[in-house]
Symmetry: C2
Subunit: 227 residues, 2 copies
DNA sequence: AAGAAACAGTGTCCGACGGACACTATCGTT
DNA sequence: AACGATAGTGTCCGTCGGACACTGTTTCTT
């Protein structure tokens, strides 16, 4: 299949010069650039130059830029945590928090995992981690898969917003506030909602709020099944 | 602010040749290309050529490619629907379905709205629509904003998965299944879950399942507040 | 010891992209 | 009729990913 490069380290050949680079070094260089300047700043040129080599030498290690980015994602996401599955609700909450941490540490990942892509052991490991929590709920297999999907989707969605809010000059909420100041008459309910939110002072609870709603909803379904 | 071009049609000048193009024509050409071949196929060249003009003529209308894509998104998302807010739960469900429809009709939008971007009247209109449904729930302003965020995030996340599943040769679930066939021993819980899901036959319920969980969770919170 | 074979890294070239800039063509106004 | 504002074109540039042929290096085989 297409994503072998994420699973098998290449067999070290016996003949010829020793490789001066490694997939790990290359991925780390790319990650460093993406963390500092965004995914768009990651070019074959930059990555190679950061390691003191020419662009073309990278093609000895990766088949193209897509592979490089896939390697970066797999390494940035990291190995999934070990979570005690005794209390499924607490475990899922912990899982979601740690996944969000991984995304926020490397905000460009949400951009990189868009579209068709290769799937690596770490990414599958995170799914495995969630899958190992859910059996005690008594939900069906389809429901458990969907539950993982909803939670992972929520984490991704929040990570996207968090990424946008990173650059102060292009803050989405500031942009919305500005447009509402200009054309507020066309969006009365939205203006009222934001005014109310400003009054009650609660901010940046989007992740926790959504997570709690989803877990409440799951809990309800589990109890319905259980009794 | 930076996104005036999404709000004000440019004033038609009296002197000089008549414009041969319009923002609407340009955006439609871009949308047609993106629908057919994906966002990556949208280049200034292609869009201009489809209208029978040279690339540089587009710069009379848009400041750059970013503006073009923003125009495409604003037009593709379309004007938000009018929804009867009597039953807030049914209304939100309808809202989410229609928003998903809009995304699925133009799968490239989920890619285009990543990162800092200008915000247009249609996008704000969708938020207004949701905001006008929620007051009857009795939730606080912050909670209502977060509720909108969770729902919109869920729709976006599902739309992303739907986009990936579009191309048969790079189906993510098929890729996962393939890797599990090879390395299933490392992911026992995941293998078991997918086997169970295949047995109970329920498929493609991710959107409905997640939406129902979120709405259940909101309902619970509303009732807690109400009594 | 001397090729031969496999491998690592480089230099050069290409087409496509977004975009700057100077240019010509077209129109309403005076 | 002339002018000036506007529309559209042609040319050029830097950067990108990548193909391909090349040189240099190491080790196995004879």
């Amino acid at each position: 299949m297409s994503s072998d490069f994420l699973w098998e380290g290449r067999a070290q050949p016996t003949r010829g010069p020793k490789p001066a680079l490694s997939l790990e070094h290359i991925a780390d260089a790319g990650i460093a650039i993406a963390d500092a300047e965004g995914l768009a700043a990651v070019t074959m040129q930059r990555v190679a130059a950061d390691r003191g080599f020419t662009k073309m030498s990278l093609y000895r290690y990766v088949a193209g830029k897509g592979e490089l980015v896939a390697l970066m994602v797999e390494r940035a996401i990291g190995v999934p945590p070990a979570i005690d599955p005794a209390d499924w609700r607490a475990a899922l909450k912990q899982w979601a928090h740690q996944l969000l941490d991984a995304y926020v540490r490397h905000p460009w990942t949400v951009e990189a995992i868009l579209g068709p892509r290769a799937v690596g052991p770490n990414e599958l490991g995170w799914m495995e981690c969630a899958a190992s929590i859910l059996p005690s709920t008594g939900l069906t297999g389809s429901e458990r898969l969907d539950a993982i999907g909803v939670l992972a989707g929520h984490v991704r969605a929040i990570a996207q917003q968090a990424m946008v809010g990173r650059q102060p000059e292009a803050d989405l909420t500031a942009e919305i506030a500005e447009q509402l100041r200009r054309h507020g008459d066309r969006f009365p309910a939205l203006v009222a909602t934001m005014a109310a939110a400003a009054a009650d002072g609660g901010h940046d609870q989007a992740f926790e709020f959504g997570l709690d709603r989803i877990l409440d909803g799951l809990d309800l379904l589990v109890n319905r099944r259980g009794g």
